[in-house]
C-alpha cells in the first residue's frame, strides 16, 4: 500500500479516537453545567408536565451512560438530534452556519500566509536593518491584542470613521443570494457567474478576515524570520552565495523551503486556532457563522447543538492538522522518502 495513504489512514484513525474522546467530554460537560435545558427551552410559563415530557424525549431522566449510548446510536445514523433553539436538526443548522465560518477562516488563513510569510522573509533577508525592525514592531503589535480587539479597532477605523467597508454581515441585504452549492458565498457567486455578489461578498469578508488573521500574520512573520535566520547560517546557503545564486532566489527559494518545514506545523496550528477565535470576531461583525450559533446554543443550554457544534469544530481542527501533515510530508523530502521505503 502507498505509504502516504497508509499514513493518512493512521491519522484518520487516531483522529476518530480523539473525536470520541472529545464527544464524551463535551457530552458530560454540557450536562453537568447547571440549568435544566428543558425548562430553558420551554420558557418560564411551561407546566411541569410539559417540561417532564420534553425531558423524557431528550432522555434526560436516564443516567448519563445510557444517554451517551442513545447519542452514539443516533450519531452512527448521521443524526445529531434536534436543536431546542432552532427546532431543526442540528445537522441542518450546522450545514447552514459552518460554511460562513469556514469561508471566514480560510480567508484569514490565506491572509496569514500571504502577508506573514513574505514579511518574515523580508525581515530575515534584511536582518538587523530597518525592514527587520519594522516587521518586528508590526508583529509585536499584532500579537499584543486578541483578534476580537482588532476586530473592534478595524471596524471603528475602516467601517465607521472611514466608511470603506461594511460594518456587518456577509452580503448586502438587497442582493439576491446565489444558489447554495458550497455555502461559500464567494464560490457560489462565481459558480453562478454573478460578479456583483462576488465583489460584494469579498468586500464584506475582508475586514473580519483581516482582523481574525492579524495575530496569525505576526506569528507567521516572526516564525518565518526566526527559521530563515537559522537557515542562513547553514553551509548550503553559504555555498549558494559563493556560487552566485541571486540573493532574491536564495531568500524566496533556497533558504525559504528548508525554513518553511519547521514553520509549517505551527502555522497550521495557528490556522486551526482561528476556528476558535472566529467566535468573537463573528460576534463583532455580526457574521452569521457557526461560532455565533455556538454562543447562542451555549447560552440556551441547547445540549444537542452544543455537542454537535463542538464536535464539528474539533473535526475541522483535526482535518486541518492532517492537511498540514500531508503538506509537510510533501515538502520535506527526508520524510517523504523515508515513508516511501
Amino acid at each position: 500500500m502507498n505509504s502516504v495513504v497508509k499514513m493518512l489512514l493512521k491519522r484518520i484513525g487516531t483522529s476518530l479516537v480523539v473525536l470520541i474522546g472529545v464527544s464524551m467530554l463535551i457530552f458530560t460537560i454540557a450536562r453537568v453545567i447547571p440549568g435544566d435545558p428543558a425548562r430553558i427551552a420551554l420558557g418560564p410559563n411551561a407546566s411541569i408536565e410539559q417540561i417532564d415530557k420534553l425531558r423524557e424525549r431528550l432522555h434526560l431522566n436516564d443516567n448519563i451512560i445510557t444517554q451517551y449510548g442513545y447519542f452514539i446510536k443516533d450519531l452512527s445514523n448521521g443524526n445529531l438530534g434536534i436543536s431546542l433553539y432552532t427546532n431543526r436538526p442540528v445537522t441542518t443548522d450546522i450545514a447552514q452556519f459552518l460554511p460562513a465560518t469556514l469561508e471566514l477562516v480560510i480567508f484569514a488563513g490565506f491572509f496569514m500566509v500571504a502577508f506573514g510569510i513574505p514579511l518574515g522573509i523580508i525581515a530575515a533577508k534584511y536582518k538587523d536593518k530597518w525592514q527587520d525592525h519594522s516587521v518586528r514592531i508590526l508583529a509585536l503589535l499584532t500579537v499584543s491584542a486578541p483578534s476580537f480587539v482588532w476586530a473592534v479597532i478595524l471596524m471603528l477605523l475602516f467601517a465607521f470613521f472611514l466608511p470603506l467597508f461594511p460594518v456587518a454581515g456577509r452580503i448586502d441585504d438587497q442582493l439576491l443570494l446565489p444558489d447554495n452549492i458550497t455555502g461559500f458565498l464567494t464560490v457560489d457567486a462565481l459558480i453562478d457567474g454573478n460578479f456583483t455578489v462576488f465583489v460584494n461578498a469579498i468586500w464584506h469578508i475582508l475586514l473580519p478576515a483581516f482582523a481574525l488573521s492579524l495575530s496569525g500574520i505576526g506569528q507567521a512573520a516572526r516564525l518565518t524570520r526566526a527559521n530563515m535566520v537559522e537557515t542562513y547560517k547553514k553551509p548550503y546557503i553559504e555555498m549558494a552565495q559563493a556560487f552566485g545564486f541571486s540573493a532574491k532566489r536564495i531568500a524566496t527559494k533556497y533558504a525559504f523551503k528548508p525554513s518553511l518545514i519547521p514553520s509549517l506545523t505551527i502555522i497550521g496550528l495557528d490556522f486551526a486556532a482561528m476556528l476558535g477565535n472566529a467566535f468573537l470576531v463573528e460576534a463583532v461583525f455580526a457574521w452569521p457563522g457557526l461560532s455565533r450559533y455556538g454562543v447562542q446554543v451555549i447560552l440556551r443550554k441547547d445540549l444537542n447543538a452544543i455537542v454537535g457544534t463542538v464536535l464539528v469544530i474539533s473535526a475541522m481542527f483535526l482535518v486541518v492538522n492532517i492537511i498540514v501533515d500531508l503538506l509537510i510530508t510533501y515538502i520535506n523530502p527526508r520524510i517523504r522518502l523515508a515513508k516511501g521505503q
Binding site: 548550503y236 555555498m239 549558494a240 552565495q241 559563493a242 552566485g244 523551503k257 518545514i261 523530502p333
Partner: protein, 296 residues
C-alpha cells in the same frame, strides 16, 4: 598580461568584538598565476578560510568585519568593485568548494535543481533540458556513471564521496579561472578524499583552472600544489615551490611544522604547543616562489 591571475597585496582583516578589534590577518601577500595550483597551509584558526571568503566578497555585508588591501583579479580591482560586479564573478570566474560536501548541498532540493541554478548564474536563459545535458556531461567527467539517478537524488541520499564529486562538477562547470578549495573533503574518509582530490587535480589541469588550495594536511598539499604559502597567525611566514618548502624549510615555524608531521604519510597539522618568538620571524621566500618584481 604579466600580472598574475590573482594578486593580493597587504591584506588586513579585523573583527569588531566587545573587547575591541580582534586582528586576524596582518598584511598578507599572495599571488596565483593562471592555471597555477597554490596551497595555503596553516593551523586551524590561522586565517585561511577568511582569506578565501574575502576574495569572494563574502564579508562585504558583515559590518563587524574591517579589511583593507588590494585584490587584483584578472586585471580588475576586486576591492574597488561594486557588490553587483563582484557578485557576477561568483560561480563563474571564481568558484568555491567547501569542507563538507553533504552539508554544502541543500537538503530540500534535488541535485539536478541545484546544478540547474549553478548553470543559470552563468546563463540565465538556459532551459532545464539543456542544463540537464550539461550536468550529465560534467557528472561523467567526475566519474559518476549513473548521472541521471544522482541528479534525481537529494544530497542525503548520496555518499559523501558522491556529493564531493557533484560539488567539484558544480564548481567547474562554468569554467572559472580560479577555484577556491577550502579544505575540500576533510569531512570524508581518507581514501575517498584522495580519490576526489585526484579527480579535481585532473580536471583543473585539463581546464587550466588556477586553484587556491587551503589545507592543513601536508601530505595532501605535497601531492596537489605547485607552490605553497605557510600561514601562521595571520602572517605568511614562508613561501616557495612545493619541493623547496618540503625539502628545505627555512622559517622556524615551517621547520617546527615539518618536524611535527610525519613527512611521507602526511596527515593533519597538530596544534604546535610550544610557541616560539621565532615564529614571528620575517617571511622567507624561496627562489622561484616570488612574483616577478617582488622583493626577495
Amino acid at each position: 598580461m604579466n600580472n598574475p591571475l590573482l594578486k593580493i597585496t597587504n591584506l588586513e582583516l579585523g573583527f569588531n568584538t566587545f573587547q575591541g578589534e580582534h586582528k586576524i590577518l596582518h598584511g598578507l601577500n599572495i599571488h596565483i598565476k593562471a592555471g597555477e595550483r597554490v596551497a595555503l597551509v596553516g593551523e586551524s584558526g590561522s586565517g585561511k578560510s577568511v582569506t578565501a571568503r574575502i576574495i569572494l566578497g563574502m564579508f562585504d555585508e558583515l559590518t563587524s568585519a574591517n579589511f583593507s588591501g588590494d585584490i587584483l583579479f584578472n586585471e580588475q580591482r576586486l576591492d574597488l568593485m561594486t557588490k553587483a560586479q563582484k557578485h557576477s564573478l561568483r560561480g563563474k570566474e571564481i568558484s568555491m568548494i567547501f569542507q563538507d560536501p553533504t552539508s554544502s548541498l541543500n537538503p530540500t532540493f534535488k541535485i539536478g535543481q541545484q546544478f540547474y541554478e549553478v548553470l543559470r548564474t552563468a546563463n540565465p536563459k538556459i532551459k532545464k533540458q539543456a542544463a540537464n545535458k550539461i550536468a550529465i556531461d560534467w557528472l561523467h567527467k567526475v566519474a559518476i556513471t549513473d548521472a541521471d539517478r544522482v541528479l534525481n537524488s537529494y544530497a542525503f541520499q548520496l555518499s559523501g564521496g558522491m556529493n564531493q564529486r557533484v560539488m567539484i562538477a558544480m564548481a567547474l562547470v562554468n569554467k572559472p579561472s580560479l577555484l577556491l578549495a577550502d579544505e575540500p573533503g576533510t569531512a570524508l574518509d581518507v581514501t575517498v578524499q584522495a580519490q576526489t582530490l585526484n579527480l579535481m587535480r585532473e580536471l583543473v589541469t585539463q581546464e587550466n583552472t588556477a586553484v587556491l588550495f587551503i589545507s592543513h594536511n601536508l601530505g595532501v598539499v605535497r601531492e596537489f600544489a605547485d607552490r605553497v604559502y605557510i600561514i601562521y597567525k595571520g602572517r605568511i611566514v614562508e613561501q616557495g615551490k612545493t619541493h623547496d618548502i618540503f625539502d628545505n624549510p627555512q622559517h622556524p615555524y615551517t621547520q617546527a611544522l615539518m618536524a611535527a608531521v610525519p613527512r611521507i604519510t602526511g596527515g593533519g597539522i597538530p596544534e604546535i604547543d610550544d610557541t616560539s618568538e621565532r615564529y614571528y620571524d620575517p617571511i622567507f621566500i624561496h627562489k622561484g616562489g616570488e612574483e616577478i618584481g617582488d622583493p626577495v
